[in-house]
Amino acid sequence: MAELSAAPRRRVVITGLGAVSPVGIGADVFAAAVRAGVDGTAPIQSFDASGFPRRRAGEVTDFEPTDHLKRLDPAAWGRSGLLAAAAARLAVADAEIDEEQLERGRAGAIMGTTSGESAVVQELAEQWVAGGLESLDGGLAGQTPAARIANAVSAELRLHGETQTIPTACSASNYALGYAYDLVRSGEADVMLAGGADAVNRLTHAGFYALGAMAEDLPRPFAADRTGILTGEGGAVLLLETLEGARARGARVYAEILGYAANCDAAHMVHPDATSIAACIRAAHRNAGVEPEQIDYICAHGTGTPTNDTTEVAAAREVFGTRIPPISSIKSMLGHTMGAASGFGAIACCKALEQDFLPPTANVTEADPVLGEGVDCVPGTGREARLDIVQNHGFAFGGNNVITILGRVS
């Protein structure tokens, strides 16, 4: 990727984190659970999974929208939008930024998703089966567009800036983060809320099972006995602003977004491609102005399918050679939260930078020897470590790879 044009760009930092996750609500609760290697998965409650051979997922069972939202009527919005709006509220509170500044200023929301308002669509499909298409509820039908995920954030916070949902499947949060970074960096916006949301649903559960990508019991990324994913859900939102703005208001700065890259395998809809991922890593490093040896940690896409983890490690090896940084998967704890996954990855990275630890790969005691020498997947629980620059992976169906690079601001 060519270097950026010569115009001066603003430095962009992350100053607020909002997590509504299967391991807890709130960034500190989330970080503590991740560090401890807590299993956030349980038998599915949101739909009747009795007809499926596997019935476990990472659901946010204690999510009560009215605990968090001041403006949105939960009956008028889908679960994905509500998860996003609640996470955005938490991010704003965490950033301790003046809400009126957001309303008046050039602030917007960019949200990623895989399945959009899947819980709404599922309810409509149930109406279809029960009473025919003519029985669809019109109000519910109006809640189906994926665009409503970012809209929910902007409606809740009364934002007037760019409000865009990016449904690039499982790398979507990273894409949203990258696009929001570009908006702030270039001066098109001053503050952005970026992240993603998805809800556990029947179709995604069935589809991953049918593809042979679902774990028998628990996700065990990078382990020899890994068998796949469990689906998950949540809302993950980060607040981005300029370093200058953050300093002026005395904000706590978790990390600077040093750069990112997005590319496309252009090869296969569902099989990842190591060469293409390696190209994306190199492009992200160039964009961020960092060298491979400066990367202290990789928050992996790490789905826990045999293919993903082999491909991801091979791609890392192409770039890092024999010294692959510690590489772990928080999907071992959350399940695969789809469009929110790389948003949770970014939040884990921010907390790891702040609190000096390596997030672990839970449910695992050692990396699969087949992955080769020197793969430290931080098995079990988190480990104390001082990190300066970290790299967050998101890959997706359609071959959409997005990698963000975050660094400590000293």
Binding site: M1, E3, S5, G51, F52, R104, T114, S115, G116, V121, L124, W128, V129, L133, E134, L136, G138, A141, G142, T144, P145, A147, R148, I149, N151, S154, A155, R158, L159, H160, G161, E162, T163, Q164, T165, I166, P167, T168, A169, Y179, D182, L183, S186, E188, R202, L203, A206, G207, F208, A210, N263, C264, D265, A266, M269, A396, F397, G398, G399, N400
Partner: protein, 378 residues
């Protein structure tokens, strides 16, 4: 600009925008294939919209449709790899094929060409059909794994990349009625920051009985309004091509905004139109034609016209183009179809001098967008 919006936004001095160049187009619509077919339909006017016909017609609500009749993806792409393609992705592939055929072959492949495609739901027929299966099969886990990847919303963008070897930035954008204009906005930022050399930018929508019923039940469209489908994509690049005659249009500023309160939607649109004109260095009186997006939407149609009139100085509207009159409601693709309509008319009847147009969109969800477009030098 109105006082209501002026106080809602912090003062800003937005940078002037440089033009982007549209060098080719691909269109699949109920008018047929390409800009010329669309121009023909716009100039003679569409006949009455049809009741749904053919296989599955009985499943549709009592509402006219403007379908892409007789569409056969294999006739365009060959048999290979088309077995599981859904209708939306097929429209995307065929439209992109036409756009790519209009590009300089040396520029097509590689890491620096990408895709930005608008959709709000992906292929409704794919995911609703598979979802229906999971609710009705004795063994709900035996859904067809070959069809599952079609249910993700970035399927069309991914397939376009695969078919054409486009390894650059690959984005899918949702923004309700304004989704296509958000895609142009997304592409503009990416090109400006050198994240790609050229992008295929547009939007796609497909007709299906479940989607038609969903539209019908929401009650947001006027009773006689037809539902449409199709895909329009454009090759967009930052630098001017060597040959002026390769330019179909110049894209100036594309501005977007969210308006949380429905009472302010017209002001919100007026605000983005004003900002787009300012950043383009265009005075309101220079706008010769407006390609409108909210035609046939109850309430919104007048909100859009009021917002545009306010931004252009409060008088009457200049010449208007309502592509939905001939194509029906194409939702995620509407902004791209609105641009296609302008380009089609400019090709069919080249303007005497350079003409400046506005493409506008306002949604029931709070999004509003405006893009300034200039006819090519001839």
């Amino acid at each position: 600009m109105t006082t209501a919006t002026a106080t809602a936004d912090a003062p800003l001095t937005p940078a002037a925008t440089r033009p982007l160049y549209v060098t080719s187009a691909g269109v699949v619509s109920s008018a047929g294939h390409g800009l010329a077919a669309l121009a023909g339909l716009l100039r003679r006017g569409a006949g009455p919209a049809e009741e749904p016909s053919g296989e599955g017609a009985a499943a549709y609500p009592p509402r006219p449709v403007r379908a892409v009749e007789g569409f056969d993806v294999k006739a365009h792409l060959g048999r290979k790899g088309t077995k599981y393609l859904d209708r939306l992705t097929s429209f995307g592939l065929v439209a992109c094929k036409e756009a790519i055929e209009g590009m300089n072959p040396a520029e097509v492949a590689g890491d620096r060409t990408g895709v930005v495609l608008a959709t709000n739901t992906g292929s409704v027929s794919s995911h609703s059909g598979l979802l229906y299966d999971t609710l009705t099969l004795d063994k709900p886990y035996l859904v067809n794994p070959g069809q599952f990847p079609n249910t993700v919303m970035n399927c069309a963008a991914g397939q376009v990349a695969i078919r054409n070897g486009l390894r650059g930035l690959n984005a899918t954008v949702a923004g309700g009625q304004s989704a296509s204009l958000l895609a142009f906005r997304h592409a503009r930022l990416a090109l400006t920051l050198d994240r790609a050399d050229r992008l295929l930018v547009g939007g796609a929508e497909e007709l299906s009985a479940p989607a038609a019923w969903a539209w019908h039940r929401t009650g947001v469209l006027k009773g006689e309004a037809a539902l449409g489908e199709g895909c329009a994509v454009f090759t967009v690049q930052q630098g001017a091509p060597a040959d002026d005659s390769d330019v179909l249009a110049e894209l100036l500023a594309c501005e977007v905004r969210f308006t949380p309160d429905a009472r302010d939607y017209a002001d919100g649109l007026a605000h983005v139109v004003t900002r787009a004109l300012d950043r383009s260095g265009i005075r309101p009186q220079e706008v010769a034609v407006v390609s409108l997006g909210a035609a046939h939407h109850r309430g919104l149609e007048r909100i859009e016209e009021r917002g545009v009139r306010t931004a252009l100085g409060g008088g009457g509207l200049p010449r208007t183009v309502r592509v939905a009159d001939v194509l029906g409601e194409t939702y995620s693709a509407s902004g791209a179809m609105q641009l296609a309509a302008l380009l089609a008319l400019w090709q069919a009847e080249p303007p005497a001098g350079r003409t400046t147009a506005l493409v506008t969109s306002v949604g029931r969800d709070g999004n509003a967008a405006a893009m300034v477009v200039r006819s090519p030098l001839r």
